[in-house]
Symmetry: C4
Subunit: 213 residues, 4 copies
């Protein structure tokens, strides 16, 4: 496996990849990695596909800044409290935030939660089998990203099998035990969101019903 | 930040990126940067993903040619008067022109202006919050690009919060205080245009209404 | 032809390409090559776009492990019995498995089999002409991938002209006499699946009827 | 302009680019360049994104083979008579053939010809202004590609302003006075085809009517 070995390298590499996939355009979205008691995080409002390793913040697990980016005039990503939710409540090793259009669109197609069943890609989400019912809670958006922290924490606690929280008219937070699992989860969730969007466009309804009825 | 440091380098780099995103195919579209009293501009009718740094014009802020491209037989982009509108009326540091299909399509879905509200990506446009009403005026196209200058200037003056003007059945002009902001604005506006197109395909209507009614 | 010369090189290269095309995201899908009595196969549950040549298994044609990946803790892809179906029943030289969204979606638009006629890209599938009726059987998905082996074998035997088997709500297996033909078949089948999806979205119906009626 | 300087280099480069855009997948499609009395052409049935400069045929303007590819067992592209139609009847310097899905789909949305008006990208097609009526004839497909030659020649002669011929349920041939213009024409035509497909999906009808009625 050509695994990039430091969190800084991985974040820079994944930000470029996520940008190419339309997940983090317009400086939105990003990814944070927690490793050996340190949290690596991009600054707020920067072009994600252009960050360099020296641009990252390093925080303690209690949120104190341990290392600053080389450039002045920055502040940590506004996603910080949301990322820390997953670190604290789920012991996540990596969390990413995506504005991908299919993630945003499913929040308009569903009510309180995205749900699906009997789609093979569900099996890429830890703890889920093909015949399960996969559920991702949808919380309402707020004017300021930090104000999402409480409702996101509540949604995480009420949905113990979910590895993601959708934010209405906004996007999605997705995590995993390490960056590899977070990325795999993200690819599977985005596939499922897109599947629901495409099925809806085809007049096939949403993938919420078992095909066995 | 791996910021490319000269306007020539940035223009060449962004033209390749915009081409890959479908914004400047068929020699259409482009980007101009104003820096230190000099305006950098691509020639008319050239393949944007293949221009080199030596192919650019450098103009004064009053539009006089200061430096010619290395190749003979070229003339400055037909977008020049449109780009200068944003430089003069908005003190922009960079302006780009895109023919992206979603930008063109929203001009067929909306009347006098593209409008949306309560979409997170609005926050990437300077001066806009989540609960605001974002508005981009739509002007009618003309047979010759230069003939758009007056109606574009009028639309800019009548829409002081907009950082963009759509042209019906054509595309969009988008600017920012520098190339970084212009690019961020462009990515956010294109996302919002695409969101409106996708919502319309899904039978969800256009994102013009608050979800709070 | 810049043909990569070893099966290990080809698999690594094609996995990156398939990932970029959305065929093998979320660790799903993959490709196996059989050459000179040896079968090259990726491990299970790894990110396909990041595998290296040393990560592959080499199996005998009876399925015994001849060479292990350099990394510990891996097991061969769960697709192994499905890949071997095509090696044994069709003497295939390469088999690939894709989760591409259009491949999954056509299994919701069709019943027992995907069918089409009079589409030029059918001619890229060995044994098919423009006026033929192309048919790809659709088998039902199972909770565990290995449980697909029998129904896939049956579908292969009942559809001697097909070089692929679709799996409902899951994806597709596609093969060829060597990796070049398997890849060509895969591109043609994916094109045909996408054509059916797009035609359906356009209200044109499915491409099952001759235009000559 | 970073113009690649030999026809061999340009063909290899453009084949990779066209493949990435979905125009020449599954060994379909391709491009031929005529320069200094010599015609450069890819072999039949090869993966277009993997051809090397030494893989090309060089033909005389009367179709005799002047240079063979390095690899044995090949034959010239089945598109040859179609490419020569444009060389002979229109004095084209380059012709390309694309199977892009939007090009195929418009042949199902239109009858005898693709038509549009008042779309800015029309201006990228030589001889067309914004208020003109752009027309691309659609000929019926045949079992064998070479059998298209006569009906394509007739369509070319009956549509003197078109730089392209669509083939129903198949794709499109597009040319220009040199490879730069052929590529620009191709990007503009593909944009217009896609615009018609998207407008149709949005329930906006086809772009055949002036907005001024």
């Amino acid at each position: 496996m050509e695994k990039s070995t430091t969190p800084r390298t991985v974040i820079v590499e994944l930000c470029r990849q996520f940008y190419a996939q339309g997940w983090v355009s317009g400086t939105g979205g990003g990814i944070s990695i927690r490793q050996d008691g340190r949290v690596y995080l991009a600054p707020s409002g920067v072009q994600k596909e252009r960050i360099a390793e020296r641009d990252l913040y390093v925080l303690s697990e209690s949120g104190d800044i341990l290392e600053q980016p080389a450039s002045a005039g920055l502040k940590p990503s506004a996603c910080q409290p949301l990322f820390f939710n997953a670190f604290r409540l789920r012991n996540a090793g990596a969390v990413l935030h995506s504005h991908a259009l299919p993630a945003m669109l499913v929040t308009l197609l569903y009510g309180e939660a995205f749900e699906c069943t009997e789609l093979e890609m569900m099996k890429g989400i830890e703890g889920h089998g093909y015949y399960d019912r996969l559920r991702v809670p949808i919380i309402d958006n707020t004017a300021h990203e930090c104000d999402l922290a409480d409702s996101m924490a509540q949604a995480i606690e009420q949905n113990p099998r979910a590895h993601a929280v959708l934010v209405r008219r906004h996007g999605v937070y997705i995590w995993g035990k390490d960056w590899v699992q977070a990325k795999t989860h993200a690819e599977c969730y985005h596939y499922l969101f897109d599947a629901a969007v495409q099925m809806s466009k085809l007049g096939l309804g949403l993938p919420t019903q078992s095909s066995k009825r």
